[in-house]
Every structure is written in structure tokens, then in C-alpha cells.
């Protein structure tokens, strides 16, 4: 039985999942032979390989173009009409897969393209600080902030910062400028 004729959506859905894990989410190590034996055991290896390559190519094209549902339908329809393309059953499985995984795949692609550290977490507390036993007690509150930073695929780095009230307000002012910029950007027609 040729790979193109094997149906029931489950094996193809499983295949697409495995491809997404490897290509987008950074979890390689799922071998071709493992996939074939688990999902398409009746398909010979020499037939499975081009089938896998075809599915990988289709998934990459869809993700790369960040296709919306109209584009997806047009693209998949074209694939069903091609010589050596896909069946309409396969198109339906791929369509359903992309609709449910699009957001997660896109997020992975965004993470992969960020070569700086990303902000993974932020914790903070405010301490009251008292000084000097020998003169009037000075009560100076201090904010202690811990930033968790990390590059794609690497361990986190923690940066611990101390701010007094003046500094906190300076930062707040800067952040409001950033927000203004964002608002301007978003309100521009593109």
C-alpha cells in the first residue's frame, strides 16, 4: 500500500506533530525509521522517505508564510491538483493541524529568530531600609528586582537590580515613552 493511499487521519496527524516538534519546537531526534515503524509500518522505507519530505516541505511552506485560512485553502487545493501532490483527505488533515497548532508554531518561530536574550521572568520585592543607629533613623525604601533572562535553547541568567524610589519613577517615565511608541506603531495602517 503506497503512503499516499494510507488514510485515517491519525497517522498523518501524528507525523505532522512529530515534524512540528523537530522543525519548530527544537526537539529533534525523532528518526525517520521510528516514525515509519510507528505510524506507517506497512509502507516501505524507500516510499516513506519522499512522503515524509513532501509533508515536511508543505508544513514549512505554510509556517513560513504564516498562512491565514484563505491562503491555506488555496495552497492546499493547489497541492491536491499537482502531479505527485497530496490527496484531499491529506489536505483536510493538514488544514486541521495548522488551525490548531498555528499559534504555538508561530511562537516557536518568533523565539528561534530572537538572538538576544528574552525576558523569561520578573520577580520583585520592596524593602524598607533603615540606616544609622547614631543619628535619626532614615527610612529609605528600596525595590529589589530580579530579571530572568535567557537565549533560545540556553539556561537562564538572573540579574538582580536595586532601585530607590527616584529610580523607579525614572524608569516608569521611560517605560511610558516606550508605550507611546508602541501605540503609534499599532495605530499606523500597514
Amino acid at each position: 500500500m503506497a503512503a499516499g493511499e494510507v488514510e485515517g487521519g491519525k497517522p498523518l496527524n501524528g507525523l505532522l506533530n512529530a515534524l512540528a516538534q523537530e522543525t519548530f519546537h527544537g526537539h529533534p531526534g525523532i528518526t525517520e525509521e521510528l516514525l515509519r515503524s510507528q505510524l506507517y509500518p506497512e509502507v516501505p522505507p524507500e516510499e516513506f522517505r519522499p512522503f515524509l519530505a513532501k509533508m515536511r516541505g508543505i508544513l514549512k511552506s505554510i509556517a513560513s508564510a504564516d498562512m491565514d485560512f484563505n491562503q491555506l485553502e488555496a495552497y492546499l487545493t493547489a497541492q491536491t491538483k499537482k502531479q505527485g501532490g497530496i490527496t484531499s483527505d491529506q489536505a483536510a488533515v493538514i488544514s486541521k493541524f495548522w488551525k490548531s497548532h498555528k499559534t504555538k508554531i508561530r511562537e516557536s518561530l518568533m523565539n528561534q529568530s530572537r538572538w538576544n536574550s528574552g525576558l523569561r521572568g520578573l520577580s520583585w520585592r520592596v524593602d524598607g531600609k533603615s540606616q544609622s543607629r547614631h543619628s535619626a533613623q532614615i527610612h529609605m525604601p528600596v525595590a529589589v528586582i530580579e530579571l530572568e533572562l535567557g537565549k533560545y535553547g540556553q539556561e537562564s541568567e538572573f540579574l538582580c537590580l536595586e532601585f530607590d524610589e527616584v529610580k523607579v519613577n525614572q524608569i516608569l517615565k521611560t517605560l511610558s515613552e516606550v508605550e507611546e511608541s508602541i501605540t503609534t506603531l499599532i495605530s499606523q495602517p500597514n
Binding site: V144, I145, L159, K167
Partner: protein, 80 residues
């Protein structure tokens, strides 16, 4: 906020905060990225006065959360 062991580590003070708003358009793995991001460059000084640079990026939702947390910090520090 939770008090964690790491918060007792060496603390740095912020010397400078620079930012830019960028738009990722396209990459080798994704021709249609199109997402805005905030890139930040911090200059921080440790207790010995040595200055280091730290860069990182935030998506817009991450930035909004960052901003919201700073507003909370400001509100708390005002009342202490």
C-alpha cells in the same frame, strides 16, 4: 512577590536604560514573521563600581506585563 534565595545575591544598580522598538519582518526560517518587539540595553554597576551591559528583548505582551509590574512597584514603594 515571593522572596527567593537568589534575591539575596549581589545586587546591581541601574546606570542606564536604553530602548528601541523594532519590527521583525522576515528570517531564514520564516518569511512572514512580522512581529514588533522592544529591545532593551541596560548598563548596570555592581558593588565595586564595575559596569556591565545586559541586552534583552520583549514581545509586546511581555513589555506590557513589565510595565504593569513597574507600576505596581512604584505604588508599593510610595507607601512604604
Amino acid at each position: 512577590a515571593l522572596i527567593r534565595r537568589r534575591l539575596f545575591k549581589a545586587r546591581n544598580t541601574l546606570v542606564d536604560f536604553q530602548w528601541k522598538l523594532g519590527m521583525a519582518v522576515s528570517s531564514d526560517t520564516c518569511r512572514s514573521l512580522k512581529y514588533p518587539y522592544v529591545a532593551v540595553m541596560l548598563k548596570v554597576a555592581d558593588h565595586s563600581g564595575q559596569v556591565k551591559t545586559k541586552c534583552f528583548e520583549m514581545t509586546i505582551p511581555q513589555f506590557q506585563n513589565f510595565y504593569r509590574q513597574f507600576k505596581e512597584i512604584a505604588a508599593v514603594i510610595e507607601t512604604v
